[in-house]
Assembly symmetry: C2
């Protein structure tokens, strides 16, 4: 498939009229052909109107048809072959194994949602049968199902050009819910985005769906994003990116004549608590794992462990020494864009220049326009508690801060001072650390969407029980997850039918349950 | 129990320092003792901090303990005896049978949520077992449960002094979710609110719960409401009231440093579509039922049928004539407050004075400071479509507008022009009206949370399958319901636990499932 630099509006390729831009190879700074012209407000309107037109039929697709479509998208992505991986490598600087793994995750995610669609649990069907003899008043027949909220705008993330982008988790869960999707591609990987967009379009066509089920817009600026979120046909938003970007979308969505929900996954420092028993038993192994988790993908992961919190003492010293050695030995890496590399460099400089912070190590300095030089620093709980916003702020990239605590009470105080997080990690030793862990868990539950033990927060499983979400500012809405099957719930709303004749009910609620889905009946 | 005019802050009675106010008997204008002094910002802070302090223990109450508490609240309300009904009659002008029925509903609702708590479905437990042999990477043990979002602020509604007030649906569902509640009483029925508040407090004490599980604030102005929604310890808001009030809370919640969800149930005209077959078969019965639904409780119901839409012709004429007779014969009623009566009078005058509207009937004019004179008017689809915001606006009270449509296409166009609604009703005759109904249903599903046939929208069942919600501006959030067992979901968020040792897991997720709750395991 060719990359043409056009906008994919339903089944049509339409050139934009907005500002021109190229993908840039972050390793070399080279502009990659072709040139794009950004989508304008007219194309936003066409894509959103098409999505609205597609909504009527797409939201009532049967379980099999919708699941088949998700599987067809997965297959069409695989059919792109190595051209997809090669383009993504050029556009993102990410290495081949990472991108091949991410493609597998993207495809598996689509197939997982196909299973979810077929299971039919997502319908959340409930039936309260009529009680004609009830006194003082009879009860009618009342039936509930969930329907999609309407067309969804999805914003591709910079750091997952496949799994959190055009056919990523937001798109997969919205399509599974029965919502047409308009994606705004991340401008750092427009070619990768176009290839995947064409794969989705091919699946739409193969499955005989309305062309408006999917459109792809690309453009460099914020205006396009705000026009999309402000469009009356758009009914929900999925976003993964910076806090600044997420907050802007939240404001725009709340200011609409009809406000809509925004699911923005924004920023997180993913605190890791090193409890004394665990440190005593295996400081070396923990440090090794930490350095690998911190520096993989140049640290450009939402769940990157940016904050390490431990009780002062020789075992923590040992961990710090080993971690500093590991970070110092970290090779230079290429970041996704020159802008991200600049923000990273400024963030590390600000952190390492903070009065309360002791710089511990820097990795190898890199070449090219978007180098990542890993960084490790330390501070005290006292200094952290004096400036939790400053020292707790995410530095997107391979930078972490160790917070030395003088007592278990200080450790708990640091936990309480944290902002909302995607994850919180405990390294603990059964028995020795139980009391401390039991005291921390109730605090961390209120701070994070996922709590893990004796592991690292990077590498998020895509499964039924995962939560990739958490209290603000980690996300805009802690009642949801953007990874895993529960993500479908974000794009659904309940509707109930009272005394509607059976022939007029949707299949999910008919007397004979033609879809064979689970229904809670009373 | 005495009504003292104090604020109920946990276990303490504390006088406010804000503006003084009384309850007013809307039938006579008489000020009812005692006097209240409104809660000030200091009391908001005390109540919210107490709720935060109670959250740690209350959110981890076992299923039995929490269910027992809800049942104890129900019993304590019944123990108030007739004093509650008498006070509510004086404060609201609502008649005894209505208030006795509402008390029954309030008590049953609490008991229903006790059942929900015991069932344990609300935990939404999911378990993905470890796959240690998976390649290329093993999977950890991942377990998900839902926990409450935190303390909830509930705003009592004017029109349901019991069922949507201090111990109403919002409070019952929040307490069921494990969230402490701070209620702001509606200033129109502070004595009723205090009695119910004391009943809840008694249940808190009997069950040995932390006093901060419940507090009750009262005050006349908006400052108190905004202080409560802005308090950092408050994590969600339940509100039933005017659109203006709901929008103000939404703005305040979005502007917080940490935004929080607002579940505001605001306004709805509850369109009723009279299809030709049904009108031909039983215009008389439909008109009778409509007038009863319109005028009951002086029309002061969120689901009051304010918009009647039918195909022009002799059958619709017959309905209109009979409905006009019924409305014309409607006795005067007392509204909840003089302010509501004034808004109602102005709303009817505006509607009946609209250039495109033909006034059809007025009921008996009332006496006293808060009279409700029922009203019926008619317009054409053409006029409605020219000003859907003006003619589709809710007039809170016993006023309705008939929209005459020249064709099925116009009927569908009116449906499409509607704002978001709590309900939409179809009167239909099997066979004759099937095609028209089948065309309307997909439109109405996107407009309303509940669709009913051959009935009236007033009289909302409290059950598992009910939805009392709907797209903006009917509510602030169409993904939820404020009536029925699904309402508990509003106050929950998912948290997942990865590789946490069994002894540190919450009971809901432990290996041996000590709570015996349903869990989705893979």
């Amino acid at each position: 498939m060719q990359i043409t630099g056009t906008q994919l509006i339903g089944s049509q390729d339409i050139p934009g009229t907005g500002a021109a831009f190229h993908a840039i190879d972050p390793a070399t700074g080279e502009a990659l052909p072709p040139a794009w012209q950004g989508a304008d407000a007219g194309l936003v309107d066409r894509a959103a109107r098409l999505a609205e037109a597609a909504f009527a039929s797409y939201r009532e697709t049967g379980l099999e048809a919708r699941a088949d479509f998700l599987e067809a998208v997965a297959q069409a992505i695989l059919d792109l072959g190595d051209a997809l991986i090669e383009r993504a490598m050029r556009e993102t600087g990410l290495p081949r194994p990472r991108l091949e793994g991410e493609r597998g995750r993207t495809v598996n995610q689509l197939r997982l949602f196909a299973r979810v669609v077929r299971d039919g649990d997502w319908v959340g069907a409930r039936i309260d049968r009529a009680l004609p003899g009830r006194t003082p008043l009879p009860r009618g027949d009342i039936r509930l199902r969930h329907i999609p909220v309407g067309p969804v705008a999805v914003f591709g993330a910079s750091n997952f050009p496949l799994a959190f982008s055009v056919a990523g988790g937001d798109t997969a869960s919205a399509l599974a819910a029965g919502a047409p999707v308009v994606v705004k591609a991340h401008p750092a990987h427009p070619g990768t985005s176009e290839l995947v967009g064409r794969a989705i379009r091919r699946a739409v066509q193969r499955c005989g769906l309305h062309e408006g089920v999917f459109s792809l817009l690309a453009g460099p600026g914020h205006e396009l994003s705000l026009a999309l979120v402000g469009h009356p046909a758009i009914r929900a938003v999925g976003f993964t990116g910076s806090r600044q970007g997420g907050l802007a979308l939240m404001r725009a969505a709340a200011a609409r004549p009809v406000p809509i929900p925004v699911y923005a996954e924004m920023s997180s420092t993913n605190p890791v608590f090193l409890l004394p028993g665990a440190l005593a038993a295996r400081a070396e192994a923990i440090a090794r794992g930490f350095v690998a988790s911190l520096t993989g993908s140049a640290g450009q992961l939402c769940t990157n462990p940016g904050l390490i919190i431990g009780l002062d003492g020789p075992d923590l010293d040992r961990f710090v020494r080993l971690a500093a050695e590991g970070v110092g030995a970290a090779p230079a890496a290429t970041m996704l864009t020159a802008g991200i590399a600049r923000s990273y460099r400024e963030g590390v400089e600000r952190l390492h220049g903070h009065a309360g912070v002791e710089p511990l190590a820097r990795g190898a300095a890199g070449q090219g326009p978007a180098p990542c030089q890993a960084g490790l620093a330390a501070t005290t709980a006292e200094a952290f508690l004096a400036d939790p916003a400053g020292l707790g702020a995410e530095v997107f990239g391979a930078s972490a801060l160790v917070v030395r605590c003088a007592s278990p009470e200080e450790l708990a105080a640091v936990a309480r001072a944290l902002e909302g997080q995607l994850t919180a990690t405990l390294h603990l030793e059964a028995g020795a650390d139980d009391a401390l862990a039991a005291g921390l868990l109730p605090i961390l539950e209120l701070k994070a969407g996922r709590i893990l033990a004796n592991g690292y927060p990077t590498g998020v499983e895509v499964c039924d029980a995962i939560v990739h979400g958490g209290p603000f500012p980690a996300t805009s809405d802690p009642r949801s997850t953007s990874v895993g099957t529960l993500a479908i719930a974000r794009f659904l709303r309940p509707v109930c039918y009272q005394d509607i004749p059976d022939g007029l009910l949707p299949p999910a609620l008919r007397q004979d349950n033609p879809w064979g889905i689970p229904r809670a009946e009373r």
